[in-house]
Symmetry: C2
Subunit: 345 residues, 2 copies
């Protein structure tokens, strides 16, 4: 097909018998057209093989239809699934999702955000790194009037919406489950509590112990990085310190996997002698010989919700006040063989 | 620090007693300065907390210092590790790495590439999707005079460099290992052979059988997607068709994991009755109760090599002929419990 034969918005307008301006607005996701009209225009555009010139659109609308997603690590199934959720929601609307990882490094996070802003993205989704304390780079996004949405790991920042799960509830449910299975000496291997999610999981753990009348004095709890090696080392510490325990609630599946490996290599029976619960429902947890009990975070739904908040902000217009929504999703407990002392519940 | 107090290239130039032009060239990774000088300038710039104005740099040099990496799926450890290799090589040189995933969809791949080109990236690294046949979108990158580098999954395209492992050799080594362990009826569960990597793994399998004097007549081989479910289904097919086999060489760790799960649920002893080898060395393979034998693809090294080829192209200048390097890395066989019929080798 030559340049001249290309489908234009006028072809779509003729076919649907609506004005070219309406077609243009529909193709640019304007909130001045009804959803029904927009869907019809998009369907017809696809049938006629209409190719939007993205640069022209960007110049005209001030939009690039690129959004950035910034995550600590792309190789964690949780983050990959949130990204899939964002893509599933935004790609049918013509957006492209570009991804950056920070490797938990606050400086890198700042540079990545600046690089994204330089490409004139339409919005940023971020789950902040463990080391992020200074918020200047996040404020810069707001100053550029670019919508910013936190997911999972958030910071307290005015004018920013956030989508997360109820980490307190997730931990509360996991620890209550352990208690109901007959465990009573439950230790906690957590993450860095400077991050709200790990603080909330810690509080949920404490609250569940209290609600079931268990002592919260002299508890064995540690903060560590989310790795298999940390879990192995923590189990060694538990035995070296002669701690009396019968269950481990971990704030991460990687820590939990390290625990399971070290307990088994010491000949400890799981779940009879020691129960283990992780957090995140990483796919490997169900592939293990002894599938791991864990808390699911509905990551695809989290991504979809974050995308919806972004669209709401975009549709409100560039000059409207930033939305400040706080969407909290319900966690989902997966009880598998590492915690079922009494058998299937 | 106010705007006026900001470190400039003149501060660096004074400190090092070299010209501001040299500092500028060094900061812009020009090949007209020695590596030693460049490293010294970068070190001093860091010490003085020098902030380059990326947009100004982009306008002046025509470069954005953003590169794009396009992969089928970010949640495969292999791709995530290649990306880490690219980042490790390019970030110290001031580049930002932005990532897109295609979900194995050729149309999405074309749209992602166009979106990346619209952001004026300095280069594209790509591992093509399974469904990519038309190469127009890749040719468009070359027409934009943007360096394009294939890694792992490549296409035959003039003026494009590629970094891959020797998939033929990887398969050959894996199958030879099975034969040396005493297996002789080896079936192959492969990927779609339209992709060069799966064709090469298939050929390596056949060559190893021939080299060891085993018949290559009436072999049971299948092409399937790289999922656990495909592996389970394939084992069911093997038994349904009453195929006589004692080992399975899989072109993917996910297929291999499905095989192991289904064989075990049928009560088959691994490795005594059936041996299994996968491909990719995904991290879960070593966490399994019976760690999986597999072929490692040195993904971090692959990313680093791809980045080096990119830098070579950049340093040659925008108007130089595109390089056409073909870097082939050596695969690494990991022999673990699923294939060690005779015990540790």
């Amino acid at each position: 097909m030559s340049q001249k034969d290309k489908t234009t918005i006028y072809d779509i307008s003729r076919k649907l018998n609506i004005s070219a301006a309406t077609v243009s607005r529909a193709l640019n996701n304007s909130n001045r057209v009804s959803t029904k009209t927009r869907d019809l225009v998009l369907k017809t555009a696809k049938e006629l093989n209409y190719q939007q010139n993205s640069l022209a659109v960007a110049l005209k609308s001030g939009r690039t239809f690129n959004v950035g997603v910034v995550v600590p690590l792309i190789n964690r199934a949780f983050f990959a699934s949130v990204i899939r959720g964002i893509e599933e929601e935004l790609e049918p609307k013509g957006y492209h999702v570009i991804i950056c990882q920070t490797h938990e490094d606050a400086d890198k996070e700042a540079r990545q955000l600046q690089a994204l802003l330089n490409t004139n993205i339409d919005g940023v989704f971020i789950s902040v790194s463990k080391t992020t304390e200074d918020l200047k780079h996040l404020e810069a996004v707001l100053q550029a009037k670019t919508p910013l949405i936190f997911f999972d790991r958030k910071k307290d920042l005015k004018g920013v919406s956030a989508v997360s799960i109820d980490d307190f509830q997730g931990a509360y449910d996991a620890v209550s489950h352990l208690i109901e299975q007959g465990y009573s000496k439950i230790v906690h291997l957590g993450g860095d509590r400077k991050l709200n999610i790990y603080e909330d999981r810690y509080r949920g753990y404490i609250a569940a112990l209290e609600a079931h009348g268990l002592s919260t004095q002299n508890l064995f709890t540690l903060q560590m990085s989310s790795t298999i090696e940390s879990g192995i080392e923590a189990v060694n510490q538990l035995y070296d310190s002669k701690t009396d325990f019968d269950a481990i609630f971990c704030a991460s599946d990687y820590i939990a996997l390290g625990c399971v490996q070290e307990l088994r290599s010491r000949g400890i029976q799981i779940p009879q002698e020691v129960g283990v619960v992780g957090f995140s429902n990483e796919p490997f947890t169900s592939h293990l010989e002894h599938p791991l009990s864990t808390v699911g975070q509905t990551p695809v739904l989290m991504g979809k919700m974050a995308a919806q908040v972004f669209l709401e902000q975009i549709n409100a217009g560039k000059d409207s006040e930033p939305l400040e929504k706080n969407v909290v999703l319900k966690p989902e407990l997966f009880t598998r063989s590492t915690s079922l002392k009494k058998g299937t519940v």
